[in-house]
Amino acid sequence: MSGWGFVFLAYGIVWLALLLYLFFLKRRARRVEKELAPLRSSAVKKN
């Protein structure tokens, strides 16, 4: 493995991991928003 091999390995893993984390975070955010929307609207309706 030449110098560049290691560089791409390191950069590849790091940015892949960060993108994956971002993806899961976005998905988690969407799920919470989906859960929160009815709660917010029902509360507004009631009081």
Binding site: G3, Y11, L22, A29, L39
Partner: protein, 236 residues
């Protein structure tokens, strides 16, 4: 209230965009613009990744410390969410830092892992972070989990200087100081464009870190809001 939320999301999008831009710039400078190192060749380019990510590891530990202190003092759930978000991202960045360090070690020292002071310290930081997340997940009662994690956050942070001292003394005892010795910072006598690459990558990592942190914090706040709404829906 809605107006403030809009500003926040717009702010976050702006932060995200600028983080993306600076990351691309960092990649450009790091991989293309900067010349290969005379001694290590191209493998040295991993430095542009490694040094900034070490910083984010320590930065996130500092934020966990701040969040923990604020929580113990004012007992506001917001600070606890800040601490737990910073810890989660901290674990990610610390783990990546160690990964980069060992990948960089292979071409430079020929081994995947050396008990070099910097790598050992980052590994210890990762262990403390993992302990923090384990503790938080293994205590059922919410306020108790928050208080106990805050205590670990504070004690862990106070321990860092002592760990630094003991590891460095121990290090200088055994092995002649390695290339990454802290007192000879890599940017003392290096090529100006390398310096630029390092600086750009620094900015990129900071922006990326705060973007992820604000996103994770926002998710944490929403989850907390969902919980309180479900709770109060019963008695409203």
């Amino acid at each position: 209230m809605a107006q403030a939320a809009q500003n926040k999301t717009r702010g976050r999008k702006l932060l995200g965009a600028s983080a993306l831009l600076s990351v691309l710039a960092g990649l450009y400078f790091g991989l293309i613009e900067a010349p290969p190192d005379a001694y290590q060749g191209n493998a040295q380019r991993i430095m542009y990744l490694h040094i900034p990510s070490i910083l984010t590891a320590y930065l996130s530990f500092f934020i966990v410390f701040i969040g923990s202190c604020l929580f113990l003092w004012k007992r506001e759930k917001r600070d606890d969410i800040l601490a737990s978000s910073a810890a989660e991202i901290g674990v990610l960045f610390t783990a990546l830092t160690i990964l980069e360090g060992s990948i960089w070690g292979k071409p430079t020292w020929g081994v995947w892992w050396t008990w070099d002071a910097r790598l050992t310290l980052t590994a210890i930081l990762l262990l403390i972070f993992i302990g923090y997340l384990m503790l938080r997940s293994l205590i059922e009662d919410e306020t108790r989990a928050a208080v106990c994690s805050a205590v670990l956050g504070i004690i862990g942070f106070l321990d860092i200087p002592l760990i630094h001292m003991s590891v460095y003394w121990w290090r200088t005892l055994h092995q002649p100081p390695s290339i990454l010795r802290p007192d000879k910072m890599p940017w003392e006598n290096i090529h100006p464009s390398m310096l630029i690459a390092l600086a750009v990558n620094f900015v990129a990592f900071i922006l990326l870190y705060f973007y992820l942190l604000s996103l994770r914090f926002h998710v944490g706040e929403m989850e907390e809001e969902a919980k309180t709404r479900k709770l109060y829906r019963g008695s409203l």
